[in-house]
């Protein structure tokens, strides 16, 4: 009898456990996808436009009522949403309560795609995409058309954004309407960062041309630059995920983007240009002679940074701007090697030139949209408009006095920080959190560094690299109507996958030059004929 009741109790316990595990596995999405927060707000009205002029019967933008706005944003892993005093201050200023979803940065696009397909969109969305997906979202009516709001209700954004910048977020395939606003950036120059201590140990100069770069990389790999007696260093690691044909490198081979014509007005696919094979041969030579990390092809996102931080590499080239001469990059490397020093080198240029031509798309760093089904359209518009003020972006990127800096000079854009404030800066502020990453006068929003010494290091690098860089702005082909359909056909043919395979194999010496050239000439370039014809017919960038 006792045995029977014991079994009964055990059975019910197991059932309860199963039910509990079922419930636990079906937790809300906010737990899985990032950090959610809900903050207290204040009564202060937002410092935004006074006009409301909207077609919907929403509450007016300067209403005293606190409104909850949901946002999905892309921020770096170090950024803290919950308990963030900067966000609390922003809420106070805009009279809002912000519920922020911040998915992991590496998977942001995946999460965004899912959110956009879910039917339950946040009010404000960081899209980070002005290509075909963005056009589809606009066509499907997910995004609010902003033209009228921009004209009547967004004076701050109107003051800052130019027509050229707005052209980037107009959906030409639909009605040329504005379905998002660009985040424009004025950033320090792109550069390649080198281990200065390694260069000095080997008596080398900062390279500026592909030939010099290759020689320095070989020396880093073979001549024991860290002096530990071990053969454990490489020159660099090619980061495929971040920068295939990265502008820091290809300028050295006169490679133009697809949508930029040559001096005769001819458009040429990158892989059809003379410089392309020179570039690939250059990579192959560096791989074969051991200058390059032999497992570069395994990196998916930014794992080369990990090898750099571990003191295995002498140079990093992707997504590095002169800002990285201070704070982040230096500190990480110094944890492994206290003697590490860094120096910024310019993007590569051809032999005989003194300035690097670097092609940039309009300095757009993503775009911000508003859900067409938002219940607080006017307030979302007002919030976004406030985001185009210096006041808002200084708050989001530089922070607050006493919390993230001791003093801030609006003229030099430099903030003096204590080590504790530096730590708070990493947690509570981020360039990724900015709505617009520039001042209203198009100048730098901030100068990186926390001490006078770092300020001087940055300014030195900024001036040096600036003198050696010629920034050429161009419009990418992704904004052209019909380009998406051409891309889908190419994708279905399997050519992009084959291209990735052939190129990687050629760089790693697994196939011959003849085989690779044969593939490029006879399969790859013909597959892109329709794609290039669309570009040619458009006359873009002429």
């Amino acid at each position: 009898m006792r045995n029977k009741s014991y079994k009964r109790v055990l059975t019910m316990f197991l059932i309860a456990l199963l039910v509990l595990s079922l419930v636990a596995c079906t937790g809300t999405s906010s737990e899985d996808t990032g950090q959610d927060t809900s903050q207290d707000t204040s009564q202060e009205t937002p410092q935004t436009n006074e006009e409301t002029g909207t077609e919907d019967n929403e509450e007016p933008a300067d209403s005293q009522e606190v409104v909850t706005l949901r946002m999905i944003i892309r921020v770096n892993a170090e950024y803290v949403v919950e308990g963030n005093p900067i966000i609390e201050e922003l809420e106070r200023r805009t009279n809002t309560k912000l519920e922020i979803e911040a998915p992991p940065i590496n998977n942001y696009n995946d999460r965004l795609n899912i959110v956009m397909a879910s039917g339950d969109l946040p009010d404000i969305i960081y899209l980070g995409n002005t290509g075909t997906l963005y056009a589809n979202w606009a066509k499907d009516g997910l995004l609010l058309k902003l033209d009228e709001y921009f004209e009547k209700s967004m004076p701050n954004a109107k003051k800052v954004l130019t027509e050229e910048e707005l052209a980037f977020t107009r959906v030409t395939e639909l009605d040329n309407g504005l379905y998002s606003l660009p985040r424009v950036q004025t950033k320090p120059w792109d550069n390649i960062i080198y281990r200065k201590d390694w260069l000095e140990a080997l008596g080398l100069e900062i390279p500026a041309t592909p030939k010099e770069f290759a020689e320095v990389m070989l020396a880093f790999a073979k001549n024991d630059p860290d002096g530990n007696g071990k053969d454990d260093t490489y020159g660099w690691s090619y980061n495929r995920a971040m920068g295939h044909l990265h502008r820091n490198l290809i300028g050295g081979f006169n490679i133009r983007p697809n949508s930029v014509p040559d001096e005769n007005g001819n458009y040429e696919l990158v892989q059809a240009q003379e410089g392309y094979m020179q570039f690939i041969d250059w990579l192959r030579e560096m791989y074969m002679n051991g200058s390059m990390d032999p497992e570069w092809y395994l990196t998916k996102y930014a794992e080369d940074d990990e090898k750099w931080n571990a003191g295995k590499l002498g140079a990093v080239y992707t997504n590095k701007i002169t800002e990285h001469m201070t704070s982040q990059t230096l500190n990480q490397v110094k944890k492994t090697d206290a003697k590490a020093e860094l120096v910024a080198g310019p993007p590569l240029r051809p032999e005989g030139k003194t300035v690097s031509d670097v092609y940039y798309q309009p300095q757009i760093w993503g775009n911000w949209g508003i859900s067409a089904d938002s219940e607080h359209i006017d307030r979302a518009v007002a919030f976004l408009d406030y985001g185009y003020t210096d006041e808002c972006n200084e708050l989001l990127v530089i922070g607050m006095e006493g919390v993230t800096y001791t003093s801030f000079d609006p003229k030099t854009r430099f903030a003096l920080r204590t080590p504790e404030q530096q730590e708070a800066t990493s947690k509570y502020t981020s360039t990724y959190a900015s709505i617009n990453f520039q001042c209203a006068d198009k100048g730098l929003l901030f100068v990186p560094g926390s001490t006078e010494e770092e300020f001087n290091i940055f300014m030195q690098a900024y001036d040096d690299i600036g003198k050696q860089t010629n920034r050429i702005t161009y419009l990418p082909e992704s904004i052209l109507p019909g380009i998406r359909d051409a891309l889908v056909k190419i994708e279905d043919s399997g050519i992009p996958t084959k291209y990735e395979e052939y190129e990687t194999k050629y760089i790693c010496g697994q196939i011959s030059r003849e085989e690779f050239v044969n593939f490029i000439q006879n399969e790859y370039i013909p597959a892109y004929e329709e794609y290039m014809n669309i570009i040619r017919n458009s006359g873009i960038n002429k």
């Binding site: 059932i15 596995c25 009516g141 990687t504």
Partner: protein, 316 residues
């Protein structure tokens, strides 16, 4: 007394129902324990099935699943006209067939070996260590394997020490399948022994005693008693494995995929991820998924039918 056949059938029907009900009542706790799993299956597997309809539509985010227009099988026409698809299909089939052939017998062999261990403490400890990799995610295991198999890793260091030449396990198409299958064995073989050990424990020990009396050696007992006793379990597991033939798992493949092995590593899961989630072609990737499921269902039913024909016993 003449009783009409329909009444006889009705009575038999009611009697049958009554006996089923009594059976359920008798095993009620087992059925109650099944309920959470059934709820999970219904909510997360059966109900979402309606979403597969987008494979036949031009899915529009705003209109949703029920509002999007049908597109006259355009996604399937595109699918079967796509060169990339056939490459993905062959990669998926080759990898999963190899995986089935190589990995299927291993848990059986391990279970048989474990069954022979007399020292219970050692047996339990071995089982525990064998099960452990199953609970570690592929991200962690992938990182460990990558470290072992990299050019500077443990395996290549060992090869070099023994006088051999380093092998680029992670960067060659030739070794990709071996790495995947090897990793899979490491992670899942131990866990797979559970079912077979349960099957072995159900074999009547008297058979072994009688066989000992008759002078049978270990291998004869294995061949004439153990394997026949385990046959039904093996058949059931084989049917389920064949049904899952089209599944290669996403995480493991994605972690080891790179530019050098992409010609053999692009399988349905990674292809669907790339075009569906990354590329935003939801309808097309749903069509790919539907094709995969139909093939899996056909394989499952065929294997079940064959098992029934050959052995007289099947899953259903």
């Amino acid at each position: 007394m003449n009783v009409k056949p329909s009444k006889v059938n009705d009575r038999a029907y009611i009697k049958g129902l009554s006996s089923i009900w009594h059976y359920i009542l008798k095993k009620r706790y087992l059925y109650i324990m099944c309920i959470p799993g059934m709820i999970y299956l219904i909510i997360f597997r059966y109900i979402p099935m309606y979403g597969i309809i987008i494979a036949f539509q031009d899915f529009n985010f705003k209109r949703g699943i029920f509002g999007s227009p049908f597109n006259n099988f355009a996604n399937f026409k595109q699918l079967f006209g796509s060169e990339a698809f056939y490459n993905v299909l062959s990669n998926s089939l080759i990898l999963s067939t190899l995986r089935l052939i190589i990995t299927f017998p291993i848990p059986i062999i391990l279970a048989l070996l474990l069954n022979e261990i007399r020292n219970q403490a050692f047996k339990r400890a071995s089982q525990t260590f064998m099960y452990l990799p199953h609970f570690i995610s592929w991200v962690v295991l992938g990182g460990i394997l990558s470290n072992f198999l990299s050019m500077e890793g443990l395996v290549n260091t060992l090869i070099e020490t023994l006088g051999g030449q380093k092998i680029n396990f992670l960067g060659s198409a030739e070794w990709f399948r071996a790495v995947i299958i090897g990793g899979n064995i490491w992670k899942e073989a131990g866990w797979g022994t559970i079912i077979y050990l349960a099957g072995l424990s159900a074999i009547n020990p008297e058979y072994y005693e009688v066989a000992t009396v008759d002078g049978a050696n270990r291998y004869q007992k294995l061949w004439y008693i153990t394997l026949p006793g385990l046959a039904n379990t093996i058949v059931v597991m084989l049917i389920l494995s064949v049904g899952g033939l089209m599944n290669n798992g996403f995480e493991q493949i994605y972690l080891f995929q790179n530019g050098l092995n992409i010609s053999v590593s692009e399988v349905f899961e990674t292809y669907t991820y790339r075009i569906g989630i990354v590329g935003g072609r939801y309808s097309y990737s749903a069509a790919v998924g539907l094709f995969k499921s139909v093939v899996a269902a056909v394989l499952l039913f065929s294997t079940n039918y064959l098992a029934n024909k050959i052995r007289g016993g099947s899953l259903y």
